[in-house]
Symmetry: C2
Subunit: 197 residues, 2 copies
DNA sequence: GTCTATAGCAGGATAGAC
DNA sequence: GTCTATCCTGCTATAGAC
């Protein structure tokens, strides 16, 4: 096979893989590992039941890959905060909006599912354990402390304040899965009161 | 069988049923319907795999019964708020502490699982749909409005304020399943800032 | 490259021994 | 009344036709 044609073929394969992963992400995020049947993924992707196995070894492999991608996405988002323009408050505001964004939310829910599922593939389990919420908070602490020095944020233990705040945001995302049609982005400033007041 | 002996036998059966349900609640709340295997329930209850079926028809029946009990418990808690002593703020504080209480939390998580699971038994699905978060909020609105009149709570649409607050509390409970060993009851006053500020 | 048909297995539910 | 051994369904994963 000529080089060009080969590259095209590989690209087609990657596109198919992405199509399946995208469908799988939506369903895994909603129903968890055990609650998701391969037939559901196939239907959502608009392909036949067996075809996924031409592109992936197993259901576990798809789940594991998605978890790793979710964690990588999360890691990059948090590292990005410090470089955002604006005051510490504006930085955390932008970060929070990013967390509540639709695309990120699915990744987030997936990780939650992985945390509460039985029989999670070994690789996925490892990836999650490497990336604890502690890491996120540690990245946020310098920003928060700067905000305290500038008088924007409340006094007190930054770690405790931030873990409360992140838990609340996490909670909203989980809640939102089946939620009330409320646009949380409108409420971000009220949430930030937890830090500023 | 004499009346007394018969009553004793029935009591023994009820105790066994409670034992199984208690074990099941813990696991269902954590892993959902599909993620929970009957063998897990049996192990947690300290009995053999097949014995549960002498006391319950099916896995679905156990799940359904627990969901109904959870909703009943929730309904009673919310109706109880208005009769609590103290100011509106103190009433909502007590209610929030009750929600965050360990026993209530498992019921709450179970309902969340039911909301996000496939193939939930018909009866459980119905019970949940009868009991929407709206009901809870409607019960809370008069209390909140009284607090507004007394100047304790922030101005603004009571419904929106309360749904944000409940979502946050819900979120904390969900989060807490795998959480950080934090005692949320310590943070209730900070959460109530969402309403009072 | 995709579909349909099916093998193999895990787990829900049952039967029968004790 | 409880356990162990099995049946049977439904799902994962594979094989083979097109």
């Amino acid at each position: 096979m000529p080089r060009i044609a080969k590259a095209q073929a590989e690209q087609a394969i990657d596109e198919r893989k992405d199509q399946i992963k995208k469908a799988a992400l939506k369903i895994f995020a909603e129903k968890g590992l055990a609650g998701t049947k391969m037939s559901m993924i196939a239907e959502a992707a608009g392909i036949s039941q067996g075809l996924s196995y031409r592109y992936f070894e197993s259901k576990d492999e798809i789940f594991g890959l998605l978890v790793e991608e979710a964690i990588e996405e999360s890691r990059q988002a948090i590292q990005h905060i410090g470089r955002l323009p604006g005051s510490p408050l504006e930085q955390l505001r932008a970060f929070t909006l990013h967390l509540l964004d639709e695309d990120h939310k699915q990744f987030f829910l997936l990780v939650q599912q992985a945390l509460t599922s039985e029989g999670v593939p070994h690789k996925a389990r490892e990836a999650i354990e490497r990336y604890s919420p502690q890491d996120t908070i540690e990245q946020m602490i310098p920003i928060f402390v700067r905000g305290q020095q500038e008088g924007q944020f409340a006094e007190g233990d930054p770690y405790k304040r931030l873990i409360l705040f992140l838990s609340v945001v996490n909670g909203l995302m989980l809640q939102d899965a089946k939620a009330t049609g409320m646009d949380w982005t409108q409420e971000v400033d009220r949430l930030l009161n937890i830090l500023t007041k």
